[in-house]
């Protein structure tokens, strides 16, 4: 072999090595493209990197008109067994699953994903225990909130979050006893802004007071952070043996007051019917009220046995059958549509 031939061979080997070292001819194809305009958002699971997926478009869930939410807050969440038991007992799968998440707990991404696969929107009642509203507003929990928000963004699935529910009551640390309305609103806005900075647009923000009948002197408006920070107005109200016994009297006054400062849609975020002489009528009233009020997106059943009161529907066959009958006519939402 001549010197020239050797040189040519060496040059060829160098070229091949260089090309091989820098990847194949197709190794730089864009990962997210499917045609010119590329990827479509399916939000089909948490496994894929959020950087490669489009943000989930939750606009269709903000004020859906094609059905109602029928939710459950199961005792034992985030375990999914209670949800299926609840659904089996009623013959109706809930499309909203709630969980109470304590402050400084991590975002339950797996539960949200499982619920979504099941066909339900996950609803997080975020409870600011072991902190104060002013501390949150002052930024002392920013790292935790940002981490939480980034996890929400990374999952890229719709999730409803209610921070400091029943803030107009005096039974929670974030309630009226130790905080002012301004502190609550400031903490809410601060959290919302941190979620915005994290790019988490896949959150439905639920501002959730208790029905005003418990403490009628507490005005709701000062607690309201503003329409820019809220998507739904949740209302907590139970049909117990001592309070109002129909939808209008239980929720009506609260809805009327809320309507004085916002037009956001309602959801009965936490409710149940206590066993009693009027329980069947209250069940009918609840379902009818949800059906007949277009501005009410649905309701969520508090399926707990707590503090001596059994709210769980599975263990009360008469009420269960009544609720099941009422639910047969209720058109539910498919959140994934």
């Amino acid at each position: 072999m001549t010197a020239g031939a050797r040189a040519g061979c060496l040059a060829g080997i160098t070229l091949i090595a260089a090309l091989a070292g820098c990847g194949t001819l197709s190794s730089h194809a864009p990962a997210a493209s499917s045609g010119r305009h590329g990827a479509t958002a399916d939000g089909s699971g948490p496994a894929a990197s959020s950087a490669q997926k489009l943000p989930y478009d939750i606009s269709g869930l903000l004020d859906p008109t094609d059905g109602k939410f029928f939710g459950v807050e199961p005792q034992g969440a985030p375990a999914f067994g209670p949800v299926t038991s609840f659904a089996d007992s009623l013959g109706k799968r809930p499309d909203l699953i709630g969980q109470y998440v304590a402050w400084n707990s991590s975002f339950p991404a797996q539960a949200v994903s499982t619920a979504w696969s099941y066909g339900a929107l996950y609803y997080i009642a975020w409870e600011p225990y072991q902190t104060t509203l002013s501390a949150i507003a002052d930024g002392q929990s920013d790292a935790y909130i940002t981490r939480f928000a980034q996890a929400v963004r990374a999952l890229n699935l719709p999730v409803a979050i209610s921070f400091g529910h029943e803030m107009n009551g005096n039974w929670y640390p974030w309630g009226i006893s130790d905080n002012t309305a301004a502190q609550f609103a400031a903490a809410w806005r601060h959290i919302h802004n941190l979620f915005t900075q994290a790019g988490a647009g896949n959150v439905i923000w639920v501002w959730n007071p208790n029905v005003i009948s418990s403490l009628p002197v507490v005005a709701l408006k000062p607690y309201y952070p503003g329409d820019a920070y809220v998507d739904w107005v949740g209302i907590t109200g139970y049909f117990d043996n001592v309070g109002p016994h129909n939808f209008a009297t239980l929720y009506g006054p609260t809805m009327t007051e809320v309507r004085q400062f916002t037009a956001k849609p309602f959801i009965i975020a936490e409710t149940a019917v206590q066993t009693g002489p009027t329980d069947l009528r209250e069940i009918r009233s609840l379902i009818a009220g949800v059906e007949n009020h277009p501005e009410v997106l649905g309701f969520s059943w508090f399926d707990y046995n707590k503090k001596g009161i059994n709210w769980q529907i599975e263990s009360r066959p008469v009420l269960r059958n009544a609720l099941a009958r009422q639910l047969t006519g209720l058109q539910l939402i498919d959140p994934k549509k």
Partner: protein, 603 residues
């Protein structure tokens, strides 16, 4: 790989002694009676003496053969020896001026082998370019979209939304129309294919020009180095006006070299080509002095000092063409050219940073070119029987070498003068094109005669290849994939709605053709003139914020990169504005770039 011709002298043949002293003056050839044969005067085989191989291309043109008188001893054996004083020199029939003698190295076999190697080089270059993958770069989107609008304007009289001539880097009716036509036929890939063809043509012309200036081996060395530079690889897959302008400059350069020996002023054909290159990309203006100088220097060996008039005449004709073009096109084009050559790019990048970048992207080729220029000045010999230099004096070689190699430095110097590194990585390609012939000389010198130091040459080339590949990969991946952002925006388009997008060229380009995404519906975050409800005209941040308060935009997208100050103000305004909701965010990842794109939608 080349094998020495069978006619090479035996190795034991004594080489002629190199005469010392002043170079003998060039003597004009004597015209033979049949007008196809030129009797060249005797020329000693000194490095400074005219010694040029016959142009094989020209020889094939008509096959005329001349007999050349050769009085001096030491006739290289490549030439057909017709006697003690005569050798064959191929000359074209009746269209060129006097052809100075040079040592013949050409043969049909050598020519075809060289062309085969060139084909391989071009294939490698094409492979290196087309392997790059990314969505449209901002400049690509701007030029192609402008071209689509120009086509609509030219064919259908659709009014142009803006005066593109005043800010595009070249005439809107040239490359943008060409690129957009290709884009319309085959999408971005087709538009990029034009650039690939242009860059392959550039390399081919570089080879041919260098072969004419020196020989095939130097031409191949030049093409080999040029084809693996970062700028060449990038420009071959970038649908911008750069590649076409570079190809036009290469064509103009080739014309002045190819016609160097001709008596008539065929070299002036290069003037309109060069003017077209400048009209297509104003940046090319920077290289016209080199082109004019090349016209004179390439002709110097054939015509002596009168050849230098070519430099002046070429310059004068080109200036005349520019004046005519400006008179026809209008002041907007001058404004556009100024924006490219002076004001737009002016920045505050530290000089050392620019130099470091330039060194990284083009330093190796420039260094080899400088080495070649020095070697070319010192000695006009590569192989024992090879003379690579244009005949002429050493000062002539110094000027040619300095001019060609220095053009690579000129690009950097100009960018340093502007204190900017905008487009430096692609603009370097212009300078490297002119420096490449000297880089070819340098590489050939490194390799040495008979491939004596082939490993050294390969090492240099392998380094150039590795650098070019990795840098092109890095730079071509330095802008984020536009697909997610465009897809998100496409969700919220509405007829007549307005969209505020930090850099709106990309969505305008990709969403063109949609009735709800017309260019006039887009506003970038660079500037706005907004009339509020009281009729007050607002600009800048106050204008944007007033527009947001009024719900003027249906969609607002920013990523805190181009206008971070405004973006921060927008974010603050939007998060407390109930009319808007954060629809989501898109994480943008690219080489050395990471940003979060915030998408706000009016509810």
């Amino acid at each position: 790989m080349s094998k020495r011709p069978q006619t090479s002298p035996p190795s034991g043949r004594p080489r002629p002694a190199r005469p010392r002293g002043k170079t003998p003056p060039y003597k004009p050839p004597v015209q033979s009676p049949d007008a196809e044969t030129v009797m060249l005067p005797s020329v000693p085989p000194d490095g400074d003496a005219p010694a040029r191989a016959p142009d094989p291309g020209a020889g094939r043109t008509n096959g005329a053969v001349g007999a050349v008188a050769e009085a001096a001893p030491g006739v290289p054996a490549d030439e057909e020896d017709l006697g003690p004083t005569t050798r064959v020199l191929v000359m074209p029939r009746g269209r060129r001026g006097a052809e100075p003698a040079r040592v013949s190295q050409s043969s049909p076999r050598r020519t075809w082998v060289s062309r085969g190697v060139l084909l391989v080089i071009l294939c490698v270059q094409a492979a290196l370019s087309v392997r790059l993958r990314n969505t449209a770069f901002d400049n690509e989107a701007l030029l192609l979209q402008a071209g689509h609008l120009e086509i609509a304007h030219l064919l259908h009289g659709v009014p142009l939304p803006g005066n593109y001539a005043s800010f595009l880097p070249g005439a809107p009716a040239l490359y943008p129309v060409l690129g957009a036509a290709a884009d319309g036929l085959g999408g971005l890939e087709a538009a990029r294919l034009i650039s690939l063809v242009a860059m392959l043509a550039t390399t081919g012309l570089l080879y041919s020009m260098t072969r004419l200036l020196f020989n095939e081996r130097i031409g191949l060395c030049a093409a080999t180095l040029f084809c693996v530079t970062e700028a060449t690889i990038m420009l071959g897959n970038l649908a911008t006006n750069d590649a076409v302008s570079l190809a036009l400059l290469a064509l103009a350069s080739w014309i002045v070299v190819r016609t160097a020996a001709w008596r008539w002023r065929a070299y002036l054909l290069a003037a309109p080509v060069a003017s077209l290159a400048v009209a297509n990309d104003y940046w090319a203006l920077l290289y016209l002095p080199t082109l004019a100088g090349l016209a004179g220097l390439a002709a110097y060996p054939y015509h002596g000092r009168p050849a230098l008039v070519r430099t002046l005449l070429f310059g004068a004709v080109t200036v005349e063409l520019f004046a005519a073009a400006v008179a026809i096109a209008g002041q907007a084009y001058v404004t556009g050219a100024r924006s490219v050559l002076a004001t737009r790019a002016a920045g505050s990048v530290p000089v050392l940073h620019i130099l470091a970048e330039a060194g990284t992207w083009g330093g190796l080729t420039t260094a080899v070119a400088l080495l070649g220029a020095i070697g070319y000045t010192i000695q006009v010999r590569n192989e024992p029987n090879e003379r690579i230099a244009l005949p002429g004096s050493r000062p002539c070689r110094i000027v040619l070498g300095a001019m060609l190699a220095g053009t690579a430095v000129l690009t950097v110097a100009y960018q340093v003068g502007l204190n900017t590194d905008v487009s430096l990585n692609t603009r370097l390609g212009f300078g490297l094109f002119f420096a490449a012939p000297m880089a070819g000389v340098g590489l050939a010198r490194l390799v040495g005669d008979h491939f004596r130091r082939a490993q050294l040459g390969i090492a240099v080339w392998a380094a150039a290849l590795t650098l070019g590949l990795s840098q092109a990969d890095q730079l071509f991946g330095s802008w984020p994939d536009a697909t997610p952002l465009v897809s998100v925006l496409a969700r919220y388009l509405q007829p007549g709605a307005r969209y505020l997008v930090e850099d709106d060229n990309i969505p305008i380009y990709y969403l063109r053709g949609r009735a709800d995404a017309q260019p006039g519906q887009f506003t970038s975050t660079y500037d706005i003139v907004y009339r509020d409800s009281r009729g007050q005209l607002l600009t800048g941040t106050p204008g944007f914020l007033a527009a947001v308060r009024a719900g003027y935009f249906q969609v607002i997208i920013y990523n805190n990169t181009v206008t971070p100050g405004l973006d921060k103000a927008l974010a603050t305004a939007l998060q407390s504005d109930p009319k808007y909701r954060l629809a989501g965010s898109v994480v943008q990842n690219a080489t050395g770039f990471r940003a979060t794109c915030y998408v706000w939608v009016r509810m």
